[in-house]
Symmetry: C2
């Protein structure tokens, strides 16, 4: 398959023309009831309200043409079926399949990538057996007590997704079970998490595909030392999630090993064993299955080619409209749900590591913008923080709101005729309108320009199934954008240079020679930083 450059599509030129006079949401009738009714998509339990984007029927038609010209659905189907999409033609690259969707393609008689789906099923069975043994008392600590806490030790994709999902679904915890997370090489991170834990009843889940991630190995050593100091046998307290045959795939040192495959990138690995082990321990196997089911439903539904109904595809193209054509450098993801407090951090990784690229899949420099800066915090908190800038600042920030009609705990209180949950959703909808419509005023400091594009993604309640679906919606939004920009969304060459330089600095700090190229700069920097 040969993919065209983003700038080569006829629809790109059409959209550039349309962007010269985008729809004015702040005009009288710029946002009217009819428009609100018309710009809605419904998909896998979610409704996307996007009348507050600066689009019109001709813009949507051109975005559909772009999706078609760039053959986004064809590429997406190829991905799910196991095509080697993690590559740059003619240059060294990972050259791998991209099969995170196979980790949840475990419900159908005919999975799209049968071999990968069979492996995923095998690991899920291992996990179910392990969780059953923990529940039955077949696996206990040296005193015969059950384990109560699992600490996941991982970083990046082995941390952000599982952490975001755990926080999102804490309301579904099994009685007496909880999870914690250690990521940072900062020794204070481990010290703070270990502080106050009952180590004798704690399992540590060490997650590293290569078995050689600096931060994770360092933290594993800190953990092993703490267990030894407490008179405990580390081999009874550690499990591993790693590549088959990696240095960590070692029954002598770990209670159990679960496998991750090299065709699942870290940032897309939350539904593989990378997320499933800790989530299974804390929330139960059934809850993990529900997350997978929600994601899987979206995986299949996202093969639909109509941008007006396929929410991930529509989000991808609205994002491209705002970023490439209206020129906005960032996008804010603002969930009105405290449980989703770390979901923006997960997306920030998944999106910026995938699409922060500047060469095409043919190794040519891009001459269009690729991934935006992605950031966000939960509402209503953000309203009392950075919303001032998004309403009245000179940087226009497109916003993706996410909300739910019902709360998780149902522990609510009616004040002045409405519940807290109603207040939460009303605030979100009000912000959406305010950003779009703006408002004039005699006092210039009280004027709101409006025309700040945004959309609202709504579901009934943040259940495990909804969470799985939401995760997959965003994964696919990112992948569709990468396909459209003709970049490889699945490698991460940009993290290498820092690693190389860091090794040089550490060589000098350890008193060894061999700082290599740029050695004098590195040495001055260490001296100036008063590190040597």
């Amino acid at each position: 398959m040969q993919w065209l450059d983003f700038s080569a599509h006829a629809a790109t030129a059409k959209l550039a023309e349309l962007a010269r006079a985008p729809h004015d949401l702040s005009a009288p009738e710029g946002l009217n009831p009819q428009r609100i009714d018309e710009y809605v998509a419904s998909f896998c339990g979610f409704d996307l309200l996007y009348a507050t984007q600066r689009v019109t029927a001709p813009v949507l038609d051109a975005l559909q043409e772009l999706a078609d010209e760039a053959r986004l659905i064809e590429q997406f189907k190829a991905m799910q079926a196991g095509a080697v999409l993690n590559r740059i033609d003619g240059f060294a690259c990972e050259n791998r399949q991209v099969l995170h969707t196979a980790s949840r393609d475990v419900f159908e008689a005919a999975p799209l990538a049968p071999e990968a789906a069979a492996k995923a099923k095998r690991e899920l069975t291992k996990l179910r057996d392990f969780l059953d043994e923990l529940a039955s008392g077949a696996i206990v600590n040296a005193q015969g007590q059950p384990f109560t806490t699992m600490v996941q030790v991982g970083i990046g994709g082995s941390d952000l997704g599982p952490r975001a999902l755990y926080l999102a679904l804490k309301a579904y915890r099994l009685p007496g079970r909880s999870a914690r997370f250690i990521a940072n090489v900062d020794p204070d991170d481990t010290a703070e998490v270990l502080h106050g834990l009952d180590l004798s009843r704690t399992l540590f889940n060490i997650v590293s595909k290569s078995g050689s991630t600096l931060e994770t190995l360092t933290n594993e050593r800190l953990v092993r030392a703490a267990l030894a100091r407490a008179g405990l046998d580390p081999a009874r307290h550690l499990v591993a999630v790693t590549g088959e045959g990696s240095p960590m795939d070692d029954a002598a040192n770990y209670l159990r090993s679960f496998y991750m495959e090299d065709y699942i990138g870290g940032r897309y690995s939350a539904t593989s064993m990378v997320g499933a082990v800790t989530l299974g321990f804390a929330l139960g196997f059934e809850t993990v299955t529900e997350i997978l089911r929600g994601a899987h439903e979206v995986d299949r539904a996202a093969e639909d080619g109509d941008i007006r109904t396929n929410i991930p595809l529509l989000l991808a193209l609205l994002g491209i409209w705002n970023h490439n054509f209206l020129g906005h450098a960032t996008v804010a993801v603002l969930p009105y749900s405290q449980a989703l407090s770390r979901f923006p951090a997960h997306l920030q990784q998944c999106d910026m590591e995938s699409n922060g690229k500047a060469v095409t899949r043919q190794g040519r420099p891009v001459n269009w913008q690729t991934g935006p800066v992605v950031w966000g915090e939960p509402g209503t908190n953000g309203q009392h923080a950075f919303y001032q800038l998004i309403h009245q600042g000179t940087e226009v920030v497109p916003v993706e709101f996410i909300g739910f009609r019902r709360s998780q705990y149902d522990n609510d209180l009616e004040v002045e005729g409405t519940s807290s949950q109603q207040k939460l959703v009303a605030n979100m909808l009000a912000q959406s309108l305010a950003l779009a419509m703006g408002k004039n005023d005699d006092n210039p400091a009280r004027r709101f320009p409006g025309n700040r594009p945004n959309s609202v993604l709504l579901a009934d309640r943040l259940t495990p199934r909804t969470m799985g679906a939401l995760l997959a919606i965003y994964e696919h939004r990112i992948v569709f954008q990468g396909f459209c920009w003709n970049i490889n969304s699945f490698d991460q060459e940009g993290v290498q240079l820092g690693k190389i330089l860091s090794t040089r600095l550490l060589t000098l700090l350890a008193g060894r020679s061999g700082a290599g190229e740029a050695g004098s700069v590195v040495q001055s920097l260490l001296r100036r930083a008063k590190m040597m």
Copy 2:
């Protein structure tokens, strides 16, 4: 005093000219040992290494001219002495002094704003007495037991700063004491925090200047209901931080009230009673005093007019160079310290709410960019997340690194000749170099363009005093930029429209009439959102 527009300064034109060919850090010798030695500022225990910014001596000279022409130090001194700087000439505004620095001007015989400093001292004395009574057992619960947990209930400035400081200094907790925070109107936030707390030994600190913040009042009701359900007397478990004479200043309903003043904006209030009460409970009065001392030292030192030595002033001008002249829309603050995990969220608020403005202090629209989008996560975590984009993406993101030479817990382990703390700092310095210098490669996907401007702010260790200083450095960086852009950094008109529309939505949801203007749009939106 009459302030000039940003575009009216001679230095602005000079800088625009210099920005046509900024220093090339990626060129051979673009970053050499001499440059690293030269571009360093030292101030109140911090070193700022900024050779990795795209500046030269002429650029720094022009930035100094800009600081002088805009009379930044004169304005800063006027602020600390109590000038009414929160105003827009000729238009309705809050018309208030800006005296957050007075909340820590409690160490000198001659404070800069004597009346405000005296009030701050009075509240600190009340706090010390209260903490003494808790320690001595004069204040206990109904069973005669000491309180162990304080939950701060506030939002925005009444949450982010105190929370960031508590997380930063958790290593200094008093034995048997801890703090939690509730902010969001999302009822699941309160439910999750209350879940598993021993309410009988918990104090709730309700923080609202007006005594009428929707989220805080709603959460206070949820808290009172939970206490009542547990058979506890809310009046014995709640303290208030509020304006004197507000509805919350009521001895019948609160164990104790502490006062906040209307001349301290929420986002600058961490060193007032807004932060001091909970931090004092969890960390002790001495620790609070040390935070104030660190901030106060910076307040005084920041009156120095030399941009090459005054770090907050230098950070402000480097930020303006990157944002207004090199055209970068965002700035990332990346602390290499897990303890500072929420400091970027605090800065995001403080900066974006202060400087996300589009009218001058004379009520004219600006024709220059004001505040950037501020975001960030701690390193090394970010290296495994969004660093791909900052190294190789098409959006250039200026970075402000923050690091410390020693860890807080000193619970470290040497692996391959270096400690975790050394690895942490080495990673930060390596990223700084990599972003600046870049690297060529035959494989286009492995090329790094370099010229990504950044600086490194370093101190010995994250102590309470260092934390206070760091907080003040950033507060003043923000204030200096606002002065330079000739905007009012102290109001927040941009949050009003969302509040008004939200009230209309809630009116409809409660089944009352009176949706007012835009009523039909609001009604369609609620229907489409399936909320009615």
